[in-house]
């Protein structure tokens, strides 16, 4: 496959895919491009801002308010954790406790703990302990049983 890259100084970034037949490979590239670009609207300092899904390390619900944590910023989201989990499960969002959703793609390391719990180290160094109930679901997802 021939790849042409073109650097632009102005205008919107775009990906053009020219194909003869829709193959699994092409479909994968499309999904990847879409996934990287998927954004959700959240608020920071009272201003609405689009946040890339792939940049959300985890989401936490505190007193009924959902907060999204990226590497450097914290955003307030109008979505509940259940909605985030449901909408972005395909992007790696996983409900790891009643008050938290983590992005599996932002996990740096997993550690098995007593009582079948799992200690998760996120890419920002944050540690999350997953209880046995949620750990079972995470194991299934990692194995590819359910996603």
């Amino acid at each position: 496959m021939k790849i042409t890259l073109q650097q632009i100084t102005e205008g919107k970034e775009e990906v053009i895919i020219r194909y003869r037949e829709m193959t699994e490979e092409i479909d994968g590239i499309i999904k990847y491009a879409e996934g990287q670009g998927k954004r959700l609207l959240a608020a920071k300092d009272g201003q609405q801002a689009p946040v890339r899904i792939s940049q959300v390390i985890y989401a936490e619900s505190v007193d009924g308010v959902t907060w999204l944590y990226t590497d450097k910023e914290v955003y307030r989201s109008g979505l509940t954790l259940s909605l985030l989990e449901g909408m972005y499960a395909g992007e790696g969002f996983f409900r790891c406790s009643k008050s938290m959703v983590i992005n599996i793609y932002c996990i740096s390391r997993l550690r098995s703990m007593p009582e079948k719990r799992i200690d998760v180290t996120m890419s920002n160094g944050e540690h999350v302990t997953i209880s046995r109930h949620y750990a079972k679901a995470l194991r299934s997802i990692l194995k590819g049983d359910t996603e």
Partner: protein, 146 residues
């Protein structure tokens, strides 16, 4: 239902421990019997051993925080194992498993120490293998990303 599941989960854990310690104690008892030139084990002694191990399973899970599975072997875990070893040894003396033979009783205490240490190490090794497996699966998951 959740309460029942929690009870069942604890009960299975306790019974697993009871079997584990019962067989460990029975092995030592069988060796002791052989050394004494006896080639049999008493049903009453075996019943005492399994009941003791079962009761100790409850103590270990509910009172001592399931210390063998603890992440680190610290003072608390060593203290808990010392307490269990003392109770087992005291009961072996009271119930006359080793004919109240001092040398055999002391050896039994040392043997129990080795058993507890081995079990704690086995749990650590098991977790270490599980950690490796989890991280392998995590990498595979990330690589499956479309």
């Amino acid at each position: 239902m959740n309460r029942f599941k929690r009870y069942l989960s604890a009960e299975i854990k306790i019974e697993f421990k009871a079997c584990l310690y019962f067989f460990a104690i029975l092995f030592f008892y069988a060796v002791y019997q052989l050394v004494q030139g006896r080639f049999y084990t008493g049903i009453v002694q075996m019943a005492e051993m399994i009941l003791t191990a079962y009761a100790m399973g409850y103590v270990q899970v509910f009172l001592l925080g399931n210390f063998e599975e603890a992440e680190r072997i610290g003072k608390k875990e060593l203290g808990a194992s010392l307490l269990c070893m003392t109770v087992y040894t005291a009961l072996s003396w009271l119930l006359g498993w080793y004919d109240r033979n001092t040398a055999a009783t002391v050896l039994f205490f040392v043997y129990l120490a080795a058993c507890y240490l081995s079990i704690m190490l086995v749990y650590r090794i098991k977790r270490s293998i599980d950690t490796e497996e989890l991280n392998r699966e995590l990498e595979a998951f990330k690589n499956r990303r479309p």
